[in-house]
């Protein structure tokens, strides 16, 4: 009978599909799993996510690029985790931690009875091994810098099989946040290659999935170069839902590669992917208009922690080459000139035109999206061409008969802004700034440039006059900003590689930033960081423009979808996301 045959075939296919993903292992009585409070979902299904590039490696110790780290985050787990929604740290592999009164030592209690994705147990030896690798000079992990405090690596000792003790060289504020995203490695797999000096070759993209073992919600199933990474459920994952069923709900998590945002949007529109991480305002409103009765889940999460700014080149360039730039730097170094630019830029227009109204104008380095740390007392001066003209006049600038601004040595004021041509929002900001400054008689030319070429100019050759860039978006803690505001920081963009702070206020910033790093009390730290923000807003080393809203979308089938302002905005609670069966079935037919 053809009908029964068909039914049998269907059942067989169904059985194979079911076998394809491992079912979650029942909870063991002695296993100290973490219970989540979210609504209980149901098991099954595959979630497909668009990724902007292919990962370069799956080795958590050597990965540098954000894309690789995004995939690795699903395969591994950390001791203490920053909850992307509350922006606070919370227990992960360590079920609790204690800080000594002097802030120098941390004692972490690990979860008992939990297992790696290959079923092997996890204990303090894995933690010790992981930190040995991260702090190893020969491995030179990008995370190593974080673990070197005052020139000394953090010391780790094992108190018993489930207790580890960390000793810091000096007090470090919110030191538990360092543990976030530091993946704990399986000693039973990686110790041998590490001893043999083969560690750097481990867990590349060619590694067979069975060798990739972690504590994350998923484990590697398949990697198809140029197409996708397929992850499957880790059947031994250490979290359970409110009904004490082991997470994650999803059978599979698939990353497909699409280079630009538009391509990812089209994949999402076509139903090929389920979640889009960050959308531009234009694409967001496009989805809003196209969203039919079934509707996408579209969320505007409000201001992100990213800040976009106009950067003037204040680097020491030596007088021999680039004499033209040297002449212009005399303007840029004058605070009144920077204040005049800031007063003339129409930030509301930037928000309206570049972000389609879905953004917030900025006058300081923290956006209102950073709930815990923003200093809301920073003044928000109104757009005023008159004030800008007064400032320029007081700095010795004047205007010639055709309205061109001329500097004290009678030279016309003109400069160029280089912008990444791939970033249409920043291109728009540059055009708006160009128009605003033309009202002051300043001729600005906008030079679109490939992003890597731009970075090379900003970080290496210093051959640029001004640019528009964005920073932030990572952790909300002030320590994440150390490298920007401390004068010898690697992202001290306006004046890189300063041996000594060039100005008194930069010296103040150094002092305050270091002080807040050593202060353990939140309120006192906040006061220090408020002061930092005030100094920055007053001295304008960067002319802050705006921050975009975090805009995300998911298909209606995705349950427990609670995106957060911090990255990874949509996938931070991947272990609790589930697919509604009805919608999932409808899609597969």
């Amino acid at each position: 009978m053809p009908r029964t045959v068909r039914l049998c075939l269907l059942l067989q296919v169904f059985a194979i599909l079911c076998l394809a993903a491992p079912s979650p292992d029942p909870l063991q009585p002695k296993e100290e799993v973490q219970l989540c409070k979210e609504n209980a979902g149901h098991y099954g299904g595959r979630l497909v996510v668009g990724l902007r590039a292919e990962p370069k490696t799956l080795n958590p110790v050597t990965a540098e690029d954000a894309v690789s780290r995004e995939v690795i985050a699903e395969l591994t787990a950390d001791l203490v985790h920053i909850n992307r929604s509350t922006q606070q740290s919370e227990p992960a592999l360590a079920k609790s931690w204690k800080v000594s009164a002097d802030g120098l030592s941390y004692t972490l209690k690990l979860r008992r009875g939990i297992r790696f994705s290959d079923g092997q147990p996890f204990d303090a030896d894995d933690v010790l091994f992981s930190f040995a690798v991260y702090t190893d000079e020969k491995i030179d992990s990008p995370q190593r810098d974080l673990l070197i405090i005052n020139g000394k690596p953090i010391q780790v000792t094992k108190l018993d099989q489930y207790t580890v003790h960390f000793i810091l060289a000096r007090p470090y504020a919110a030191a538990e946040r360092i543990f976030d995203s530091l993946a704990i490695l399986p000693r039973h797999i990686l110790e041998k290659p590490y001893r043999e000096g083969q560690f750097l070759q481990q867990w590349s993209l060619n590694t067979p999935p069975s060798h990739m073992v972690g504590l994350g919600p998923f484990r590697l199933k398949q990697y198809l170069p140029g197409q996708r990474v397929v992850l499957e459920r880790n059947p031994y994952y250490w979290k359970a839902d409110s009904a004490k069923r082991r997470l994650p709900y999803l059978d599979e998590l698939v990353f497909v590669f699409a280079a630009n945002e538009d391509a990812r949007l089209m994949q999402f529109e076509a139903g090929e992917t389920d979640v889009v991480n960050r959308l531009s305002a234009q694409n967001y409103s496009l989805l809003t208009r196209q969203s039919g009765p079934s509707g996408f889940q579209l969320q505007d999460l409000g201001p992100s922690t990213e800040y976009n700014f106009l950067l003037l080149n204040l680097n020491d360039i030596g007088s021999s080459h680039l004499p033209d730039l040297e002449r212009k730097q005399a303007w840029f170094r004058d605070l009144r000139f920077r204040q005049a630019l800031s007063a003339a830029v129409d930030r509301d227009s930037i928000v309206r035109l570049a972000y389609g109204g879905r953004g917030t104008p900025l006058w300081g380095n923290l956006s209102p999206g950073n709930k815990l740390w923003v200093n809301s007392a920073i003044p928000h001066p109104q757009l005023s061409l008159e004030a800008a003209r007064q400032l320029l006049k007081s700095a010795g600038f004047s205007w010639n008969s055709s309205g061109t601004l001329i500097d004290p040595s009678r030279q016309p004021v003109q400069f160029s802004i280089i912008v990444a041509s791939s970033n249409s929002q920043r291109m728009q900001m540059a055009t708006i700034v160009q128009d605003d400054l033309s009202k002051l008689g300043i001729q600005v030319s906008v030079v679109p440039m490939e992003f890597r070429a731009l970075l090379q100019r900003v970080f290496q050759t210093y051959n640029y006059e001004a640019t528009i860039l964005g920073l932030g978006g990572g952790d909300a803690d002030p320590n994440a900003e150390m490298n920007v505001w401390v004068s010898n920081g690697s992202t001290h963009l306006w004046h890189l590689g300063e041996a000594h702070p060039a100005t008194a206020w930069e010296a103040d910033l150094d002092r305050l930033m270091n002080q807040q790093m050593l202060t353990l009390n939140y309120k006192r730290r906040k006061r220090l960081f408020d002061q930092v923000q005030r100094i920055i807003a007053a001295n304008l080393p960067l002319i802050f423009l705006a921050t975009p809203d975090v805009l995300v979308a998911a298909s209606p089938a995705v349950g427990n979808f609670h995106p957060a302002v911090l990255e990874p905005n949509t996938l931070w609670n991947i272990d609790q996301l589930y697919l509604n069966r009805g919608a999932e079935m409808a899609r597969s037919h």
Partner: protein, 336 residues
């Protein structure tokens, strides 16, 4: 001669088309760089001939429906001719009269506005002026180079020919887009609009000479073996005389056809350069940088009027190709 008459129509139409862009200042209702930041991506205005009092010959310009529905009260303004507005320079003088406009505070955006609320119609006209000027000047540059090199190569032959032909072939195989990207990286960042304009003309003109040069060389090669040339040489004519009197005239027809074919190509080349951010930069409009915004998917599918420069490009290409075809046909009939 019949071909004269067939030539007249495309030539006249083209002249008219160019005239429109030469008179951009008079025809454009607004300054192409003026931003109206309250009105980004406004759809083209719609025309109304009817109101409560019946039919009017003079139309009213009304804000587009979506805008009228949301923010602004529905107010229509009568179209007016020869109005005074922003000042522009033309023929060395400052003018303020414009063909059409509406009384303030109304705005007439017959082709809508762009991302900054700039009037697309004005930008299209001024952008066309720049794009077409670049196309025409670049053709002049490249055909001059082609004629010079092609004639020398074809006439003198031997090692000169081989050297020049080798050079031309080398020119054809270089990947130009990458070369231009590198070139832009070497140039100073702050270039004035006129410097960029000349640079683009220079770049497109100097890149386009190789193909017409090979054609001209072929023509010269055959022309110098013609009996009348050999006869003139026998009578003691100098090289310069031969080139001027006998050989150069024989290439004129091909040059004209080539010019008609190259102009739209070069206008498109300018558009491509500006599309990738290598050409004329903001806020000066050109068809290429106006089209660059269509790289964004949301703009491409939402705001159809942003495609206007593409239509202008197509019209330009079709007219020039038509001219080239008519030219070629008439040349054939002439040579027979």
């Amino acid at each position: 001669m019949p071909h004269r008459r067939t030539l007249l129509l495309p030539a006249a139409l083209l002249a008219l088309w160019h005239l429109v862009f030469i008179c951009a200042g008079f025809l454009a209702p607004y300054d192409p760089a003026e931003q109206d930041r309250d009105l980004p991506y406004t759809a083209p205005a719609h025309w109304q001939f009817h109101d409560s009092q019946g039919f009017h010959l003079r139309p009213y310009v009304c804000p587009p429906h979506d805008l009228a529905a949301t923010s602004q009260p529905q107010q229509c303004y009568p179209l007016q001719f020869f109005v005074h507005g922003w000042r522009y320079s033309f023929a060395g003088m400052r003018w303020s009269v414009h063909l059409f406009g509406v009384p303030t505070p109304g705005r007439i955006a017959i082709l809508g506005t762009d991302a900054y609320g700039r009037d697309m119609c004005s930008r299209l006209l001024f952008g066309g002026r720049i794009s077409l000027a670049i196309g025409l000047l670049a053709v002049l540059v490249s055909l001059l180079a082609a004629m010079l090199i092609g004639t020398v190569s074809g006439y003198y032959g031997k090692w000169t020919d081989e050297l020049l032909m080798g050079g031309a072939e080398l020119f054809l195989v270089v990947p130009w887009l990458y070369f231009l990207l590198a070139l832009r990286a070497m140039l100073p960042l702050h270039l004035s609009a006129s410097a960029t304009f000349l640079l683009v003309v220079g770049v497109i003109g100097s890149l386009g000479w190789a193909r017409p040069m090979r054609l001209i060389r072929g023509l010269v090669l055959s022309a110098r073996e013609r009996n009348y040339v050999l006869a003139a040489r026998g009578f003691g004519a100098s090289d310069a005389y031969l080139l001027r009197r006998h050989i150069a005239p024989s290439t004129a027809g091909v040059l004209l056809t080539q010019a008609a074919l190259l102009v739209p190509q070069f206008v498109a080349a300018e558009a491509a350069l500006s599309f990738f951010g290598l050409g004329v930069s903001e806020p000066v409009p050109s068809w290429g940088n106006m089209l660059a915004v269509l790289q964004q998917y949301s703009v491409l599918v939402s705001y159809w009027w942003m495609l206007a420069p593409a239509f202008a490009l197509v019209i330009t290409s079709v007219m020039y190709c038509w001219l080239a075809e008519v030219l070629q046909r008439s040349l054939k009939s002439f040579s027979i």
